[in-house]
């Protein structure tokens, strides 16, 4: 046992002597560490889940009619109530096709939210109209096949689950009270895609462009044109070329770049995570006050002991170390327990908030546990600095007189 060892031992024994008080102080650190780690892990898992879903589509350019004020946000220009007043014309599409075909796959997209009826069940679903040649290139099926028949459609897995649809099931599209009804047959069920920049198919019906025109009209009017770039580094080049050509006179189209949107989403999520962690950090601040209070009480109760130590030749620095050790031990024990609890609590919390724990064990997620531990220990040691300084600067003669 060296001198540091004995100083440490005295610190540990003092904690044990005031066990309940020390446990309550450490509990504050446990709560703080759990709060910070859980919030951080939740944010990291959410970011990872979303970026993982969207990163596959980071090579996407979405061309839509100019709305005259910004892009229209996540999800491109789709999912609205039909073609509306703004649309991409056949001529504009041909121009885009001419320019962008060298950059990758170019296809048009039309969408509308429509009334549907399956047997006795009724509801609404988004209907997409796409070129049947393009469908196999951008969608994967979990069962069934793409059909060139006009009345065949592929449907999203959630829609299939909701209405119990199978290959061969029939869906009536359109409200019989308002007009004609078109009956289509399910030829395939699309694999789950989650969120996407181009089209959200999980609860949608995807049919041919021709079918869409039959049901909703609007031939030669498209909601958007999507470009799947074969080389992501040419995003800016493609954007510039299309914009220069089509917006030469008036701003008739606007282009959203999915990689930029992904960056914006990731950045927003990071900001949100930081904000939530800062709120969680308040609990650590409360814990710091509690540790400070415990340390001050410890100094006040041990003034005489400090006097004894000083009188027998213990240096000021060793006295300081003793109280810093005490704070450090409280912080380490609290942070250690907090880390273990964070692991279990964080798992449940992430599952509850994000809906998946697929990313829980990733380094970006688990990193928040040692991070929160380090913050917890640091907060404890910082809280111990003033009490330690005060203890080391006590006058030995005065300290020896203390009761």
């Amino acid at each position: 046992m060296i001198s540091t060892g004995v100083i440490f031992q005295v610190a540990v024994r003092s904690i044990r002597l005031h066990f309940l008080r020390s446990v309550l102080a450490a509990l504050g650190i446990v709560i703080g560490v759990v709060a910070i780690a859980s919030m951080g892990m939740m944010g990291a898992n959410m970011t990872l889940a979303i970026t993982d879903q969207l990163s596959d589509m980071a090579n996407m350019l979405v061309v839509g009619p100019s709305t005259g004020g910004g892009g229209g946000g996540f999800g491109g220009f789709i999912g609205g109530g039909g073609a509306g007043d703004s649309y991409i014309t056949e001529k504009q599409y041909q121009n885009i096709q001419k320019i962008a075909s060298k950059y990758g796959i170019v296809y048009t997209l039309r969408s509308s939210s429509e009334y549907i009826e399956i047997g006795k069940s009724r509801g609404r679903a988004t209907i997409y109209g796409l070129d049947t040649e393009v469908l196999p290139k951008i969608l994967a099926l979990q069962e069934g096949a793409f059909s060139k028949s006009i009345t065949s459609v592929v449907i999203g897995p959630r829609l299939a689950d909701r209405y119990g649809l199978k290959i061969g099931s029939r869906i009536d599209i359109g409200n019989p009270d308002e007009g004609s009804v078109t009956t289509v047959r399910v030829s395939g069920i699309i694999e789950e895609r989650g969120m996407s920049f181009d089209l959200n198919t999980d609860s949608a019906i995807v049919g041919s462009d021709r079918l869409f025109t039959i049901i909703l009209g609007g031939e030669g009017k498209y909601n958007q044109v999507n470009i799947v770039l074969s080389d992501i580094s040419r995003v800016d080049e493609a954007k510039k070329e299309i914009t220069d050509e089509l917006n030469r006179r008036d701003e008739v189209i606007s282009i959203q770049d999915s990689s930029r949107m992904l960056e914006t989403i990731t950045s927003s999520l990071s900001t949100m995570t930081g904000f939530v962690m800062a709120i969680a950090g308040i609990s650590l601040l409360v814990a710091a006050v509690s540790i400070f209070n415990v340390m001050m009480m410890s100094v006040n109760e041990r003034i005489r002991e400090i006097g004894i130590m000083r009188s027998i030749g213990v240096q000021r620095w060793d006295i300081r170390k003793m109280f810093l050790y005490e704070a450090g031990v409280l912080g380490t024990v609290g942070a250690g327990i907090g880390a273990a609890v964070s692991f279990a609590f964080g798992y449940i919390f992430v599952f509850g908030m994000v809906g998946t724990v697929n990313y829980f064990f990733s380094p970006q997620s688990l990193l928040f546990i040692p991070y929160a531990m380090a913050v917890g220990i640091l907060v404890c040691v910082l809280s111990g600095i003033y009490p330690a300084w005060r203890a080391s600067n006590l006058d030995p003669v005065e300290a020896l007189r203390a009761e």
């Binding site: 046992m1 060296i2 001198s3 003092s14 004894i308 027998i312 213990v314 030995p396 020896l400």
Partner: protein, 224 residues
């Protein structure tokens, strides 16, 4: 005896500045204690005897005058040097024993040894000293608060001796003990003095003072 005295005070004054005005606890004290001497400092309460002991023990510094321990002036010493001096050259005995309550008898004695030597006591010095003062068997590993007053003071003597100091300062070492335990402590101190230790003892008990070779009377901060 060596030519250099163990303790020399030259015109030492200690004045405390209080809101009510300055209080002179020691007033122009000049004193020399030779190496190997056993000196008792006597005086009524408030006479300045504890202040004098604190000065000799380097727990406090003179307002005026010079204090030399083993020929070294302490006036210009830093806090670190004074603390080192207390660790190596001076051993303290207090009326209230002043053991560290969370440590055992063994650990209390070992504590200053570890602070000074930065290594464990491999030579068994701690156990030898505890045996010397009569602390053996289960008493060795007992926490100090579980020991009687006499036993605590014996442990304090062992602690004072562990770094082999030249000077042992005792502030009413028998004040909290019964006559029998007090006498045992005094015999231990006499024994230490015979082994060459310089002992300076503050007491108001004339019986205990007569164990010393020289008695210094102090009154109103002045040596009579």
């Amino acid at each position: 005896m060596s030519a250099t005295p163990a303790v020399e005070l030259e015109h030492v004054s200690r004045i405390y500045s209080l809101p009510s005005g300055d209080v002179t606890a020691l007033d122009d004290v000049t004193l020399s204690i030779e190496r190997g001497e056993f000196v008792a400092i006597m005086g009524p309460s408030g006479s300045g005897k504890s202040t004098l002991l604190n000065q000799i023990g380097c727990l406090d510094l003179p307002t005026r005058g010079d204090l030399r321990l083993l020929g070294r002036s302490v006036r210009a010493m830093s806090d670190r040097e004074l603390t080192d001096l207390r660790l190596s050259t001076i051993g303290f005995l207090f009326q209230r024993f002043n053991l560290i309550p969370v440590l055992t008898a063994y650990e209390n004695v070992e504590f200053p040894y570890l602070i000074k030597n930065r290594r464990s006591d491999a030579d068994g010095r701690v156990v030898t000293l505890l045996s010397l003062v009569g602390i053996t068997g289960p008493l060795v590993n007992r926490v100090s608060t579980q020991l009687s007053g006499g036993e605590q003071q014996r442990v304090a003597i062992a602690r004072a001796l562990v770094n082999d100091p030249e000077i042992i300062l005792c502030d009413e070492p028998t004040g909290n003990l019964d006559t029998k335990a007090g006498n045992q402590i005094m015999h231990l101190l006499e024994d230490l003095n015979q082994r060459g230790k310089t002992i300076v003892m503050v007491t108001h008990d004339p019986v205990m003072a007569h164990h010393a070779a020289r008695i210094i009377d102090i009154r109103d901060g002045r040596i009579e």
